[in-house]
């Protein structure tokens, strides 16, 4: 086992365990906080894929912004932080039904994974991705880039609409 695999499995374990806690924890605050490790693990996988800029963006936006928003949201709705959030309808029949469906999906995915001819690129990975992203965004993908700015404008307008003071 080389060092790449060791680091990969380290991040994979972090992602899977923390994601499991997100789903299974009864305390919603634990769920929200556990998401931090999931995002962090995903950032680690991006680094392994030679996508350093995406990795750091993942941390800055998902951990630095979106998760803060989620945690504020949880804290704001104070009534539910202490409440047991395990959903009410977990009878034996439902569990069995959900289990069968999950099993079928899992088997299908493993089957597909094993039988797909994966495309492996012959290109050498770039030293740094940020230069290429900068160049491509402002030349070949200019339209998508400007559309993204309009999308963000819409998001700002939406945020301002929610945040506006009622006179």
């Amino acid at each position: 086992m080389d060092i790449f695999s060791i680091v990969f499995y380290l991040f994979a374990v972090i992602i899977v365990v923390s994601a499991a806690i997100v789903v299974m924890s009864k305390n919603i605050m634990y769920s929200a906080f556990s998401l931090l490790f999931t995002f962090f693990g995903v950032a680690g996988i991006y680094v392994l894929l030679n996508a350093d800029f995406i990795a750091v963006t993942q941390i800055m936006i998902y951990i630095g912004g979106i998760l803060i928003l989620i945690i504020f949201g949880v804290m704001l709705t104070s009534r539910i932080t202490g409440v047991d959030i395990k959903s009410g309808t977990t009878g034996k029949v439902q569990i069995a039904f959900a289990g069968v469906i999950s099993l079928v999906i899992a088997i299908t995915l493993i089957f597909l994974f094993a039988n797909t001819k994966w495309f492996t690129s012959e290109l050498k990975p770039h030293q740094s991705t940020i230069e290429d992203i900068g160049k491509e965004l402002l030349t070949n993908y200019l339209l998508a880039f400007e559309v993204a700015s309009v999308l963000l404008l819409i998001a700002i307008i939406g945020a301002a609409f929610i945040a506006r003071r009622k006179s």
Binding site: G82, P125, G134, L152, L153, I156, A159, A160
Partner: protein, 118 residues
């Protein structure tokens, strides 16, 4: 690329490891004479009443919301800034349009009072 990042990942583990050692030492070395009074929540000498986890101002949430949008825009600026000297004039004008749209959004939110804190 992994070789370049290995020391970084190592330093993260190292830093958090040191912090964990500090925590364990602090719980292990510290005196233990717990009384009922010591375990109450501090409230400037008053009897603590109710829980602290009550509702708080929604303004904190709104700030976080505005932050995400502007943060994404800033992240878009980084690749452009790094590549700036290599870009053609058209690409630079395209970026100025991007920044202008950003400015427009900012002033809209300013006028709507979305970033007003009172």
């Amino acid at each position: 690329m992994l070789e370049a990042y290995l020391p970084l990942i190592f330093m993260l583990i190292f830093g958090f490891g040191i912090a964990v050692i500090f925590l364990v030492l602090s719980e292990w070395l510290g005196a233990r004479r717990i009384t009922k009074e010591k375990q109450t929540t501090y409230e400037s000498g008053m009897q603590p009443f109710r829980t602290a986890r009550d509702r708080f101002s929604v303004k904190f949430y709104l700030v976080a919301m505005s932050f995400i949008v502007f943060d994404i825009e800033v992240v878009f600026l980084y690749p452009w800034a790094v590549q700036f000297k290599m870009l053609s004039p058209e690409a630079i004008i395209a970026m100025f349009i991007f920044i202008a749209i950003l400015f427009a959004g900012y002033f809209y939110e300013l006028r709507k009072g979305g970033i007003e804190w009172q």
